[in-house]
């Protein structure tokens, strides 16, 4: 248990990073991480060797999917729109743009892209987390990149014009 606990503990910073990018809301993200940890600790006997990191990402990804599903039954409001400050130029605007671009992705594509570029998982590991073949991971990744590029190419000039 001590080793298991230590291994789980070592992953908390990365899980928080992934959850933050997934949800783009620090409170929701930390709740998600907490649920993931509780679930992992109680399910230790379900973990049978293998990579603890992929397992934790799997739980978090599934929990977030459940969350979105139950959210979908209620009227949606986007937290991004709610606290929109006037658009800024410079790096601040860039980080906002990527946040919005991520928000436009389909959930599975967002998961795949974030696991690869932010969390540094291999295609094989992402396939394991998502429970799909590697080819599916690659096409999700490709579609995510096309979507983000389209969003940024279309959005940036518009923001400049406003300014």
């Amino acid at each position: 248990m001590a080793t298991f606990g230590k291994q789980v503990e070592a992953k908390i910073p990365a899980l928080r990073r992934y959850a933050r990018a997934l949800t783009r809301d620090s409170d929701i993200a930390d709740d998600l991480v907490q649920d993931t940890l509780v679930r992992a600790l109680r399910s230790e006997h379900l973990f049978h060797g293998g990579e603890i990191r992929s397992w934790l990402y799997t739980i978090l990804t599934n929990l977030n999917r459940n969350r979105l599903r139950s959210l979908a039954r209620r009227p949606l409001h986007s937290p991004l729109e709610d606290n929109d400050a006037p658009d800024l130029a410079g790096p601040e605007a860039g980080s906002r743009d990527i946040e919005r671009a991520l928000a436009t992705l389909v959930e599975d594509q967002r998961n795949a892209l974030l696991l690869v570029v932010l969390e540094g998982l291999s295609y094989r590991e992402v396939a394991q987390v998502q429970g799909v073949p590697i080819g599916t991971v690659m096409s999700r990744l490709a579609r995510a990149r096309v979507q983000i590029k389209g969003f940024l190419d279309g959005e940036r000039p518009a923001l400049r014009r406003v300014k």
Binding site: P13, V38, R39, H45, E51, T58, G131, V132
Partner: protein, 265 residues
Amino acid sequence: MIDRDSPVTEEELHAFVDGELPADRQEAVAAWLSAHPEQAALVAAWRAQAESIRARYGAVAHEPVPGRFALDRLMRQGRASGGRSWAALAAAAAVVAFLVGGGTGWVARGATAAAPNGFDAFTADALDAYKLYVVEVRHPVEVPGSERPHMTQWLSKRLGAELRIPDLQSIGLKLVGGRLLPGPTGAAAFYMYEGPSGERFTIYCAKAVSPETALRFKEGQRVAAFYWVDDKVAYAVSGPADRDQLEKVAKTVYEQVDRSGAKKS
């Protein structure tokens, strides 16, 4: 290996950006890109996206971890809040199913330990007991529900596990009583409840091998059962085959036996 001039697919460009190509192919693609500015621009755009994502969220991993994530605290909290909630049990079930299906590096040990034999044998026993005693008018139980404390003590002793006989009055079910039965691995406890229109539900429980399992549902022609293992005790809640109604009963039972687990620790 593919030579330097072979066409580069878009898939390979993604793999190139993500460092998924073998070293020699990585080099070949880099060389190819220097002669193909359009694709090079695409690759640059994807890299810039990745950079923005890392720039935006990377710092989160360097923040000090808040105290709420202290593991000993989370474990205490898990127990204090009554352990796995009914909803959590369902969610964990999804995780178990997923691990079995998609995992190469791990297996869901809890699921294999309980299924198919443990689960099937146990619910079959529970449903047999249900069918046998639920039609009994004069002697459905050995000990009447009015002797709950005595029954709790007696059955706990025989099973070798601290039992708690749920009170289902809140959903309109009265405890008829209980009896001791043979179980798959020793003694089993059996409680019967009755609703206002005479419908009967039973709980069959015995010590289990695995500490806990996901929730399962088994449906026969006219009867059905929910099965789970928690804190090393297996439970099967049986009743008429109306899943919604039975789930309500099982959920109430779950919450009550789980609370007793919390009290113990």
